[in-house]
């Protein structure tokens, strides 16, 4: 088994085997470049490649299967440009690798978006009690790194912000603003709760909810116009047809441009090799979802694609003890989210940025 066998031999054939309507990133220039690179590797690099593989096979006791897997993975295309056959092959490869690595049967789903589905999310900001169960359900479901020793080893996709409640006071009726500068810009009887969105992430009281606080969970907003997708130089992150913005981890170069672009602090970087104990690993995975990541790639919430593609609620929705989290199909007028949009007071976080999130906050 050599990677050369998996590579397309005829450029024309490769072009025709792709989807009839090429996605945005399938510009012809990239294709030409790719084939020429492959040809070069095939002819010129074959010798060195095989010799390298031979060395690898000699040196590692597990045989050359693992090495071949590594090589095949190295040469696979961007997920959106892969043919169904290539996707199936990648899936088998990953399933074998993960099953060996984690000592149990791991499935890697490649289910596509279903027509007529546009996922949407709503969160009742009035109900949230800040118990952080959603954060940990997400970790249990999505195979994040959960080390504790070094910084960056523990990755959580959901952040729960504890925000103080501000108040107006009689005593401060004559206070100026800004304080201490002797400039009077009007009275300021208000005691602020902090700047916008500034709050505590590390709150840890005995019991929640506290009487003087409100809680605001934040995760990926799955924008309709995602800034992270705009900036990705390798186009590995994109919006799926049913809504979620996903990442092809294999194609990610770890440049962190998307992390800079995201106004919601939703993306996390695998700074270290992810720490994922075998017994805690969730064996039901999706290629674009919760399959184990490698070091140096960006990851984020994808609305539990491995669940929602099979009509199951995301993990955070299922554990919320107060039922603040709601999930549904925005195109179905009978769904929970559609009913909320119809009936309740709804806002989007940082709506002024025109990112059009499909994550809505609402209150009774």
């Amino acid at each position: 088994m050599t990677p050369n066998e998996t590579l397309p031999t005829d450029p024309a054939k490769e072009q025709s085997s792709e989807c009839p309507v090429p996605p945005m990133s399938a510009d012809p220039a990239a294709n030409v470049l790719k084939t020429s690179r492959r040809d070069f590797l095939k002819s010129g690099g074959a010798l060195s490649l095989s010799s390298l593989m031979g060395t690898a096979a000699l040196m590692s006791q597990s045989g050359d299967a693992e090495a071949a897997v590594e090589w095949a993975e190295h040469f696979q295309k961007n997920y959106r440009l892969m043919t169904p056959a290539e996707k199936a092959e990648a899936r088998l490869r990953l399933e074998k690798r993960y099953s060996d690595e984690y000592g149990k049967k791991v499935s890697v789903d490649t289910t596509e978006a279903q027509p007529g589905v546009l996922m949407g999310y709503a969160l009742n900001i009035r109900k949230c009690i800040g118990c952080r169960r959603c954060v940990h359900a997400c970790v249990a479901e999505n195979n994040q790194s959960r080390g504790t020793k070094r910084p960056g080893e523990k990755i959580e996709w959901i952040q729960v912000l504890r925000m103080e409640r501000g108040k107006f006071e009689q005593e401060k009726m004559n206070h100026g603003y800004p304080e201490g500068l002797g400039i009077q810009v009007g009275g300021n009887a208000y005691t602020p709760a902090g700047a916008v969105l500034e709050g505590q992430y590390h709150y840890n009281p005995e019991k929640v909810p506290e009487a003087d606080a409100t809680y605001m969970p934040i995760a990926c907003m799955q924008c309709e116009k995602p800034p992270c997708v705009k900036v990705c130089p390798v186009r590995t992150t994109y919006r799926e047809a049913d809504g979620p913005v996903v990442i092809d981890y294999n194609w990610c170069i770890g440049c962190k441009m998307c992390m800079n672009a995201c106004p919601y602090w939703a993306r996390r970087f695998n700074l270290t090799t992810p720490v994922l104990p075998k017994e805690e690993m969730n064996p039901v995975t999706h290629y674009l979802g919760n399959r184990p990541r490698m070091r140096g790639v960006v990851e984020k919430c994808h609305w539990c694609l491995q669940r929602t593609r099979h009509d199951r609620y995301p993990a955070c929705v299922e554990v919320c003890p107060v039922g603040a989290r709601k999930f549904g199909n925005l195109l179905d007028p009978e769904s929970e989210v559609s009913k909320i949009l119809e009936r309740k007071n709804v806002f989007r976080l940082k709506a002024e940025l025109n990112t059009f999130p499909k994550f809505f906050y609402f209150y009774d």
């Binding site: 040196m59 590692s60 006791q61 149990k104 109900k127 009690i129 800040g130 118990c131 952080r132 169960r133 954060v135 940990h136 249990a140 504790t148 910084p151 960056g152 080893e153 959580e156 952040q159 304080e179 005691t191 602020p192 902090g194 700047a195 505590q200 992430y201 590390h202 709150y203 840890n204 009281p205 005995e206 019991k207 929640v208 909810p209 506290e210 009487a211 064996p283 039901v284 929602t308 009509d311 199951r312 609620y313 993990a315 929705v317 299922e318 554990v319 919320c320 003890p321 107060v322 039922g323 999930f327 549904g328 199909n329 009978e334 769904s335 929970e336 009913k339 909320i340 009936r343 009774d364």
Partner: protein
């Protein structure tokens, strides 16, 4: 050449270590007995309402994962564990039969099956009926208060309701509707909706309350009923602020590099 020799030595050592580890792993499943003996039970929405016992549906796939810190259910492998069909509910005709399920709690709540047999059966020889007080005021009975501590301080209705507004007079393991007919403890929404009609409508449409299972509007879901999240004897408590009992939060996230504690978060950017 020398370098290669070093590499191979290192690899051989690593290989040896790997084999040792794998051998230890093979030896480990030999004693699963203590694990099986220790039963993990975690609570779902609020403590004391409903619990799940952890078990493996298939190897490596538990029905539920529990929080080691708080003992709360953190992840559902099987959302329909121990459920039964919800039964008739007005306005729910669009959902296919059997797609709305609940976890029955009447067995657990019927703490004293003898309640309805020995005293509150309505056909006692000396009193007729024996359980009905003369006035509509709760009379403190030490026996009852010892059995249900919540009774001492009823935090519901702000003094405008009493026991028999919700509980059936003669069938103490049932609730009561407007016509005096019994309602099962598994369908408290039929009772609560008498006053909280807006919440009942929102709950029916999925806006209020918790459901797990399939998210499609006709999919199979487990519905959490009113009393699985709210304690009906204690819904208005000053210490909390959203009609939900206080509970212990899960652990906070990892601190950023170089930070000893999170005291910086408590400082206000604007002095006041």
């Amino acid at each position: 050449m020398k370098k290669l020799a070093i590499y191979t030595t290192v690899l051989a050592l690593c290989g040896g270590a790997f084999y040792a580890v794998s051998a230890a792993e093979q030896a480990a499943p030999a004693q699963p007995a203590p694990e099986a003996a220790k039963e993990v039970v975690c609570f779902e929405s609020r403590k004391g309402a409903s619990e799940v016992t952890q078990r493996d549906i298939k190897p490596g796939w538990p029905n539920v994962k529990c929080s080691p810190k708080t003992g709360a259910a953190l992840w559902y492998g099987d959302p329909y564990d121990g459920t039964v069909p919800m039964g008739k509910m007005p306005g729910l005709d669009k959902i296919p039969e059997g797609h709305a399920v609940i976890k029955p709690r009447s067995e657990k709540l019927a703490l004293m099956p003898m309640c309805g047999v020995s005293c509150h059966n309505g056909v006692g020889p000396q009193f007729s009926p024996p359980t009905l007080p003369k006035g509509k005021k709760p009379v403190p009975l030490p026996t009852m208060e010892a059995m249900v501590p919540d009774l001492k301080d009823l935090q519901h209705g702000r003094g405008r309701i009493w026991c028999m507004d919700c509980h059936h007079t003669t069938q103490r393991n049932k609730l009561v509707d407007h016509f005096g007919d019994p309602i099962s403890f598994d369908q408290p929404q039929l009772l609560c909706g008498k006053c909280h009609g807006d919440k009942l409508r929102d709950w029916r449409d999925g806006i209020h309350g918790k459901r797990i299972g399939e998210f499609t509007s006709t999919g199979k879901k487990r519905w959490f009923t009113c009393t699985e999240c709210h304690n009906p004897h204690n819904v208005q408590d000053g210490a909390r602020n959203r009609g939900f009992v206080q509970l212990q939060p899960e652990p906070s996230p990892q601190l950023p590099r170089g930070m000893k504690d999170a005291s910086h978060e408590k400082l206000h950017p604007i002095p006041h």
